[in-house]
């Protein structure tokens, strides 16, 4: 059984304690999207401002657990300044990391055979990799990313 230290890595707790890019942006020009985790009632609100293809600003609202909040914080730090394409790409990579073990969660030490787009570096987001060992928390980690896609799509 994985230990709590696999889940609550220091960097995750740091983002939870000091969330980056909290707040709101004026809509319009920013676009706003909301996401809910029906399981636990967590809620994330994303404000996204773009200039042409470039994500110029992004703010996060809502409330949730350490995993959903830190994932949102790291996501905001990662995608700010990216192009929309790059943001969609890193979202795909992140979600792949979150789902890669879904069919074989009991296997231990499967982290090494992770095959994802080498072009994209997840940086700090790698710290969330331990979440896949706690299946009920995967939705917490992916909530803000799915909401980001909604914001990009203009839903």
């Amino acid at each position: 059984m994985p230990g709590l230290e696999d889940l609550y890595r220091e960097i995750i707790l740091d983002h939870y304690r000091n969330p980056r890019n909290r707040g709101e942006l004026e809509t319009p020009p920013a676009r706003r999207a909301e996401g809910f985790n029906p399981l636990c009632g967590d809620e994330v609100v994303i404000y996204l401002e773009t200039d042409g293809d470039l994500i110029t600003d992004l703010k996060i609202g809502g409330q949730g657990c350490s995993i959903s909040q830190s994932s949102a914080s790291m996501m905001s730090a990662a995608v700010k300044g990216m192009t929309v394409d790059e943001a969609q790409n890193i979202t795909r990579v992140f979600k792949a990391m979150m789902s890669i073990h879904e069919s074989g969660l009991d296997g231990d030490g499967g982290d090494e055979d992770l095959q994802i787009d080498d072009e994209v570096s997840l940086g700090d987001l790698e710290a969330l990799r331990g979440v896949v060992r706690f299946p009920v928390r995967i939705k917490c980690a992916t909530l803000s990313w799915n909401t980001l896609l909604d914001a990009i799509d203009g839903h």
Partner: protein, 415 residues
Amino acid sequence: MTIEKVGLDAAALKAQFPLLSRTINGRRMVYLDSANTSQKPDTVIDAISDYYRNTNANVHRGSYQIAHEATEALEGARAKVASFINAPSTSEVVFSKNATESLNLVAQSWGRKNLREGDTVVLTELEHHANIVPWQMLREAIGIELRWIPITDEGKLDLSDLDRLLDGASLVCVSAMSNVLGTLNPISDIATRAHAAGALVLADASQYVPHLPTDVQTLGADFVAFTAHKMCAPTGIGVLWAREELLEDMPPFLGGGEMILQVTKEGYTTNDLPWKFEAGTPPIAEAVGLGAAIDFLSELGMKNVRAHEVALTAYALRTLSERFGDDIKIFGPSEPAERGGVLSFTYRDVHPHDVAQVLDQQNVCVRAGHHCAKPLMQRLGVGSTTRASLYLYNDESDIDVLSDSLAEAGDMFTF
């Protein structure tokens, strides 16, 4: 000589629930999620297994021995339910899939027959989604109006404005015990006032029947819904009790086999009560399991179950508030006699999901979330809570492990 049993021997009881002796990573189960679903005793598991091994056949339609036995088993379980809740007649005991289906049955059958656009149904702020959404669906379909009985800060129903809320209302839907706050609501008082105002009362007794002696004749409600899996019985079966004249007057809910007397190309005639509301093959093995669960609970005595839970709730409230003081906020009535053993709380600003995760590491099973009562969460001003809920097999040692694990969560998330 009959000896009135006092108190329950929780250690002996735990031994009768096989799952409670499972260990995970060397830690014993501390199961504190019985408001979600209860564990099942050997007698229930054995009754289901025995039914499939020796009796299994479809009911009400076979001409051979085991079909007759299966029918007897199903109807025998119904008789046990009737006597457990003191229903005047077995024809008033309808089997459904769960409480949710029982509540939907009332909304779709009684509601569509008796309610018109602009008619009013009164709900409360502490209802489970199962007693909210069916009425919202009916509002969408036929344009009824919904009114809400508010709650006080202590989590009790605020009945100060009840007469105005009841004015012109057709039905009051109220849970007998809150699955979040543990509040025991004054159903018979509400029923007296509702009846005086010309409204009927539907009690969602999902959290009540498993924990307190239930007498539908003194409860005062016209409809009572509950679900078997929270009372030591299997999933897949629930109950709707209603007064016979109401059921007689209601159209069927689902159509199919079992619920008809006659079918021609021109139409159908419905079966007698309660089968009119039981389309298709019923949950037979589940009913057998429910019957065994009722035997188990009756043997213990529901008064004893209740007394055990009041004492344990008092211990839990005392233990947690003495140890954690202002760091813990436990919702609902502070007086154990006014509540059931459902303890929803927030702990410092540690998110309930994180609390539950740390507790899970100690094999302590609690629920974190909105408990299917989002309007209540909004009223309480929280997104979610952690909920520890007690049953007859819990004892003080379970509370002590909960308390120690909570302290651990506190350490982990102290920044």
